[in-house]
């Protein structure tokens, strides 16, 4: 059971989408050839929580090309967050291998990934500015330099006016934007978002989704080889974990389903779909698009019945 997530695996009916020639997205040929190793490469991955023998995931294969945007959907408790921990080197696989940018060593994976967790992860005792600056401070930058860089990043996410406020003074949506600014300033090639918008109400979530679509696209396109990336040749790769199907389709070119084929079996990737990231139509138009609706329907059906493979999705 293996799913290779290259841009080249696009279903025929979707290849005419305007998204393909959207300027923000790297062309598939560039992403796979210019960077020798994929950003994330999981092979025959298996994992059991420490002290237990029960496999949470097993035989999991997943590849994300450098600069790619992948969304993982799945029901609660299927191991989505664990998957991100395994990629980031916070956990080690029991079987199989996990590599980030071709490196399997956990400390190197940790060095390449930034985690944007679910819920409120800003430190309440620091100002918004110092929260965003923390990765630079952790690297030994002076307070002044770190704050200057953080201020520039806050400006990009539209929160410059709130730099001196404490997180508690911000709305949920603003806090998530600040959390993204903090993650981006860590200048890691791989960004791992764990239910980034789960704590927001539906209306705010829709707004932030729209905002994320444009700002992630801008990050990848304008800074592909500059400010955000550690290595000048590596654009930001995004892996989003979510149970919100619309969010998955909006924030990724590829959407995969992490599910248990049978109730007690370990989870693995059971299906994959093309997403709408890079299609620069506004969120409302996309959500109303019949193709979008059909894909959403297919994913929802697969989520409800993980054992039955969806007819319209690309079965792994």
């Amino acid at each position: 059971m293996s799913v290779v997530l290259a841009h080249t695996v696009v279903s025929p009916d979707r290849s005419e989408r305007p998204a393909v020639d959207s300027p923000e997205v790297d062309s598939p040929a560039v992403s796979s050839s210019a960077f020798g190793s994929p950003a994330v490469d999981l092979r025959a991955l298996g994992y059991a929580y420490p002290g237990t023998r029960h496999r949470v995931v097993a035989d999991l294969d997943l590849t994300v090309p450098a600069g790619g945007h992948l969304a993982v959907v799945g029901r609660s408790g299927c191991g989505k967050s664990t998957l991100l921990s395994l990629i980031a080197g916070l956990e080690e696989p029991a079987t199989g291998t996990a590599a980030v940018l071709g490196d399997r060593r956990p400390e190197q994976r940790l060095a390449s990934c930034a985690l944007m967790p679910q819920g409120d992860s800003l430190l309440p005792w620091l100002s918004v500015l110092d929260n965003v600056a923390i990765s630079l401070r952790n690297q030994g930058a002076s307070r002044r330099d770190a704050r200057a860089a953080a201020h520039a990043m806050l400006d990009r996410v539209g929160l410059a006016a709130w730099a001196r406020a404490r997180p508690a003074a911000l709305s949920g949506g603003m806090r998530q934007r600040a959390a993204l600014a903090r993650a981006l300033l860590a200048r890691k090639p791989v960004l791992l978002a764990d239910e980034p918008l789960a704590a927001l109400d539906a209306i705010t979530r829709a707004e932030v989704q729209q905002w994320l679509r444009t700002s992630i696209a801008a990050t990848t396109a304008t800074t592909g080889p500059s400010a955000i990336a550690t290595t000048p040749t590596t654009p930001t790769t995004l892996v989003t974990v979510t149970h919100d199907v619309d969010e998955a389709l909006l924030l990724a070119e590829r959407v995969v389903l992490l599910a248990r084929p049978e109730p007690a079996a370990p989870a693995r990737i059971t299906a994959t779909w093309s997403g709408w990231f890079g299609d620069d139509r506004p969120r409302e138009d996309l959500v109303g698009d019949p193709d979008f609706a059909a894909t959403r329907q297919s994913i929802l059906r697969a989520l409800a019945h993980p054992g039955i493979m969806p007819p319209s999705g690309e079965v792994a």
């Binding site: 967050s81 921990s85 980031a88 916070l90 940790l110 990934c113 930034a114 985690l115 944007m116 967790p117 679910q118 992860s121 430190l123 309440p124 005792w125 923390i134 990765s135 401070r137 952790n138 690297q139 404490r166 508690a168 903090r182 993650a183 860590a186 890691k188 791992l192 764990d194």
Partner: protein, 263 residues
Amino acid sequence: MSTRVLRTAARATAPAAVTVVLILAAWIMVTALELVPEYVIPAPAAVLESLLVSWPDRLGPATALTGIETLLGIGIGVLVAVAVVVVSGYFPVVGRALTPLLVASQAIPVIVIGPLLTIALGYGIAPKVVVVALLCFFPVALNLLAGVRDVDARLIDTLRTLHASRRALFWRVRLPFAAPRGFAGLRVSVTFAPVAAVFAEYTGSTDGIGYLMLQSIPRLQTDFVFAQVIVLTLMSSLLLAAVTVLERLVCPWNTAPAGKAHP
């Protein structure tokens, strides 16, 4: 000048003020009608007179000494508690080794340690400071240790991906997270600290409020004892207020009203 602010303040303090007035009225009535002998419950006026008359020569100096013992004890107890927490932050095994010991030693009654310390350290200020320090140390250390460990694991994961070393995690995440809990412990400590100092003075001393109490009780100078109790109560209240102000300065993000946490 906002009448609304005044009204809110009045509404907050009025019930307590009414209670105090009622108790005072009952006290005055009981003593004025001579329902109980004067040596059991002295009149408020007698207590006030005793306080004012004795303050310059006896109660004032005794209060200063007991106050110094209390403050020194709190200071040393808190310093040692923070030091233990910092060391266990760098060497988690130290924290794990100490916690059961701390919990167990908290069960040792100060009543037992006090006289032993007097035997060991004499009649001076030292055994009193040690008793207060011991009493203050445990709540602060235990609360801080628990706080340092209770940080959400996913938050730690996140900060690790943001280049945080173990040291950075301790100073930038764990310790600030634990600080409000440390203050909750400190609030418990300072409430009992003056009483602990007085108790230590009971077990052997030549000055201090505890010494005065030991002298005035057998002589049935109840009005003077009442005056001492009032001074002690004021001391505890002042300390509690000081801790509340300090907490607001050190942990301004902690918006939970300090008054609500139960000592």
